[in-house]
């Protein structure tokens, strides 16, 4: 193996002996890839379980690709009609259905391993979306979207939407009753768009719904366009992640100017490989033991039947819920001969529009109200940014309420409730719930911050009572060690923006004052309530006051790079 990056012909210090070594040497002599590998192998990655959530998404995507290729070999995206000749499943024998549906049945019952592959593919899709959402929650609550990672947040958001598109297009391919119900709703939503709605619907379905084109079209989207875009974006996403370096959790020795963690090789790569096998194994097990989307239970698509319990996959459930919550009466307006179906437009367009806009713009809005241009590489503890954490929890609350509303019939049957009352409860909750969740979360965060302050100033209660010669009783407090203290004091409590006055010295009105004022107001909403971290002066004062609390004053070694890392490696930015 070479140690220099020179392209010159050179005498290798020691000829490799193992086959792998020889192969690597062969490659290296022709590409000098060794330099890159070494650079990457020495790259330091911080370590935390939550950094593996993105990996779950990544690896379930790999499983999706592999199982998807298998399915593509047997699936026929055609809406031509045929009679199903197979003996299994018994309830489909001899039925009239589309070729797409028949090929799905054949794949499940005739092709060896076909049903397993279909189920692995579908479970992986559910887990992929679940992992993306959990990954995103991690990014949000720790503030990993701050500069310089806003771009990667946008890439991620685009992938989230592509993930929804992948799920939706794939789900509709088998042409069964349930997915057809979903397409029917989609058709309705498209048609609800004023003016262009009906034309767009004809364009999408190639004529009147359902037509004979939608399955082949969705097929192209599902196996070519969406995965292609996702692959490209994942590459960009990971490239940006390496370029920006990974963030790290706060802790002793970790600053915005270094990375504390393990070298990629062998530690990180070993963990990644292990994680890959676990994810692969879990998905395969789920596919093997848990039935999913058994389309023959729903039967071939026919526009008339809708069965009870017709719902989309979980990541679309919020849309279903939004539609179910919307009151139908009085919300369809006819203006000058044009129908404005607010009962569909609001739940199917406005609600998701608001949710996604919030996610898209949040990092930029927060940067603006924070008023800082700094780079952030150390993550926030969620409690230290109460308003953001509370907004995130409020968002999740809204999402969960919508998903539950989308399952209102199952809630009704399983808890013996009236579906009408449930719907009304959710109609109220969708407005009240998020606000309440916001308020509670913010209070909890501020409370935790205050507790941290107490702890830093006065140390842990030890439960030991000591009596002094003068008769005074005190409880001994054990001071925090450096690690614990660093974690609790090393954050910045932002204050609301300060803006220039309305008019300058000569009394001329300043341009842009109005906008500034609005941002200031928003900034107040974010940072008006805050708990400042303990300053060194406060700490000193507390120590002087409570001197005798500490029986054995601790040494205070300076905290520097490396100390906090313990057994890790520190690398400068």
């Amino acid at each position: 193996m070479s140690t220099t990056a020179s392209n010159q012909h050179r005498e290798a210090p020691a000829k490799p002996t193992t086959p792998a070594g020889k192969a690597a040497d062969y490659l290296d002599q022709r590409t000098s890839i060794g330099v890159l590998v070494k650079e990457f192998a020495r790259k330091v990655f911080p370590d935390h379980w939550s950094f593996m959530l993105g990996e779950i998404a990544l690896f379930s995507f790999v499983v999706l690709l592999i199982s998807g290729v298998f399915l593509t070999m047997f699936f026929e995206p055609s809406m031509a009609l045929t009679h199903y000749e197979g003996q299994h499943p018994a309830n489909m024998h001899g039925q009239l259905m589309s070729v797409a549906f028949a090929s799905t049945l054949e794949m499940s019952f005739e092709v060896r391993g076909g049903l397993l592959m279909r189920q692995i593919h579908h479970w992986s899709a559910l887990i992929f979306m679940a992992a993306i959402v959990t990954h995103m929650m991690r990014i949000f609550f720790t503030g990993a979207f701050r500069k310089p990672r806003e771009l990667n947040w946008l890439v991620g958001m685009t992938m989230l939407i592509l993930g929804l598109a992948a799920g939706f297009s794939g789900y509709s391919l088998p042409d069964d009753v349930l997915s057809g119900n979903g397409l029917r709703i989609t058709d309705g939503v498209i048609k609800s768009i004023p003016v262009i709605g009906s034309y767009t619907s004809y364009l999408v379905f190639g004529g009147e719904f359902p037509g004979a084109h939608i399955v082949p079209r969705l097929f192209t989207i599902h196996i070519l366009i969406v995965p292609g875009l996702l692959l490209a974006l994942i590459a960009l996403h990971l490239f940006l992640m390496v370029l920006n370096k990974h963030t790290q959790y706060p802790g002793g020795g970790r600053t915005d100017d270094n990375v504390v963690g393990f070298p990629a090789l062998p530690v990180y790569v070993a963990k990644m490989t292990g994680n890959f096998f676990i994810i692969f194994g879990v998905l395969a097990l789920m596919g093997a033991t848990m039935a999913i989307n058994n389309v023959w239970n729903y039967g071939p698509f026919d526009p008339s039947p809708v069965s009870a319990g017709a719902q989309p996959d979980w990541y679309m459930l919020f849309l279903e819920g939004s539609l179910r919550l919307m009151p139908g009466q009085g919300t369809e307006w006819v203006i000058a001969g044009f129908t404005l179906p607010l009962n569909i437009l609001v739940p199917a367009m406005v609600v998701p529009g608001l949710l996604f806009t919030f996610l898209f713009v949040y990092p930029f809005v927060e940067a603006k109200v924070r008023g800082d241009e700094r780079e952030h590489h150390v993550l926030d503890r969620p409690r230290n940014v109460p308003t953001r954490t509370a907004l995130g929890v409020a968002f999740l609350t809204a999402f969960i309420i919508l998903a539950l509303a989308g399952s209102n019939d199952l809630i009704a049957t399983h808890f013996h409730l009236s579906i009408n009352s449930i719907t009304w409860v959710f109609r109220v909750l969708i407005f009240v719930g998020p606000v309440f969740a916001f308020w509670v979360t913010k209070r909890v965060c501020l409370g935790l911050q205050r507790k941290d302050r107490e702890l830093v100033l006065h140390g842990h209660e030890s439960g030991r009572i000591v009596r002094f010669a003068n008769g005074e009783y005190i409880e001994v407090h054990r001071p925090l060690d450096e690690q614990e203290r660093w974690l609790r004091v090393n954050y910045h409590a932002y204050e609301p923006l300060r803006i220039e006055p309305k008019s300058d010295a000569r009394g001329v009105k300043r341009k842009g004052y109005g906008a500034d004022r609005r941002w200031q107001r928003l900034s107040r909403f974010f940072f008006e309530d805050r708990v400042e971290p303990v300053t060194p002066a406060e700490l000193a004062a507390a120590h002087a006051h409570g001197e005798h609390d500490e029986l054995a004053p601790a040494e205070h070694p300076a905290i520097g790079a490396g100390v906090g890392a313990g057994h890790g490696t520190t690398q400068g930015h």
């Binding site: 935390h48 379980w49 939550s50 950094f51 593996m52 990996e55 779950i56 299994h88 499943p89 018994a90 309830n91 489909m92 039925q95 499940s108 019952f109 189920q119 479970w123 559910l126 887990i127 679940a130 992992a131 959990t134 009753v177 349930l178 963990k271 292990g274 676990i278 994810i279 879990v282 998905l283 093997a288 848990m290 039935a291 999913i292 989307n293 058994n294 239970n297 729903y298 039967g299 026919d302 008339s304 039947p305 809708v306 069965s307 009870a308 319990g309 719902q311 996959d313 979980w314 990541y315 459930l317 399952s407 199952l410 009704a412 049957t413 409730l417 579906i419 009408n420 009352s421 313990g566």
Partner: protein, 259 residues
């Protein structure tokens, strides 16, 4: 034989033959038909026992002569099938008042049920209890049953009969454990919010097909654990609970392995 042959051309012969034919058909019909005849053939003793049972268990609500009372339907003409369905599924005698009478462990044994059925159908003819042959799932066409169930029943009972919600706390129950006879009778009598599927709507053969389909669903899914047959919501729930649960657990474990 000769005598018979000789009188074959007697002028009363056609009439006698007609009479005979009628008698034979009638007899065969009486013997074979699922018969509202149960009312006629049931012994008066049965009807008497049934009446007593009715007076003791049902009359408080349905009235002394089953004429009904405010909020409780009259049972005149509902037929033996309705009684057998309601009583053998434990819905009647009703106990708790709720959005709908729910099925419970049955209180009346086979004999008592039969007696009640005999009594009620003696008050007015109605649909009779189907025979075992009529409800035998082995003779039904599963695929046709699926198609019929999909268009007639799935909107309330879910695609595989896992049950579903109706308005105001009413619900269409899961059909996993309903006996074939009760499936047939439910269609025939349309209990509570369920519509009646009479023999013109859904023929007896079709009813048998539906029974065959529903019984076939009990075999389980080719794909593994069916997760209640409830579709995407339960799949999502299991995906999060099992899949994400294990994977996050593994991530925590791997993450902890180093530090």
């Amino acid at each position: 034989m000769k005598a018979l042959a000789a009188r074959r051309h007697h002028r009363f012969a056609p009439a006698v033959l007609l009479l005979l034919a009628l008698l034979v058909t009638g007899g065969v019909y009486a013997a074979l038909a699922p018969s509202p005849a149960s009312a006629d053939t049931a012994s008066t003793a049965d009807i008497e026992t049934g009446k007593k049972l009715f007076q003791a268990n049902c009359a408080t609500c349905h009235g002394a002569n089953a004429e009904g009372s405010p909020g409780v339907p009259s049972l005149v003409g509902v037929g033996a099938a309705a009684v057998d369905f309601q009583v053998s599924s434990g819905r009647m005698p009703m106990q708790m008042s709720g959005p709908q009478a729910i099925s419970k462990p049955r209180q009346m044994d086979e004999e008592q049920t039969a007696a009640l059925a005999a009594y009620v159908s003696s008050l007015g003819a109605g649909p009779a209890i189907p025979t075992d042959a009529q409800v035998d799932p082995a003779d039904g066409d599963i695929a046709n049953g699926m198609a019929l169930f999909r268009t007639n029943c799935a909107m309330c009972h879910n695609a595989v009969g896992a049950g579903g919600a109706l308005s105001e706390g009413k619900f269409a129950p899961a059909l996993w454990e309903t006996t074939p006879r009760n499936i047939y009778q439910a269609m025939l009598t349309g209990p509570q919010s369920m519509p009646v599927f009479n023999d013109a709507n859904v023929t007896p053969e079709e009813k048998q097909d539906i029974i065959a389909f529903l019984v076939d669903q009990r075999e389980g899914s080719a794909g593994g654990n069916a997760l209640g047959g409830l579709g995407p919501v339960s799949e999502g729930l299991w995906g999060w609970a099992v899949g994400m649960g294990v994977l996050i657990g593994a991530a925590v474990w791997i993450g902890a392995k180093s530090s």
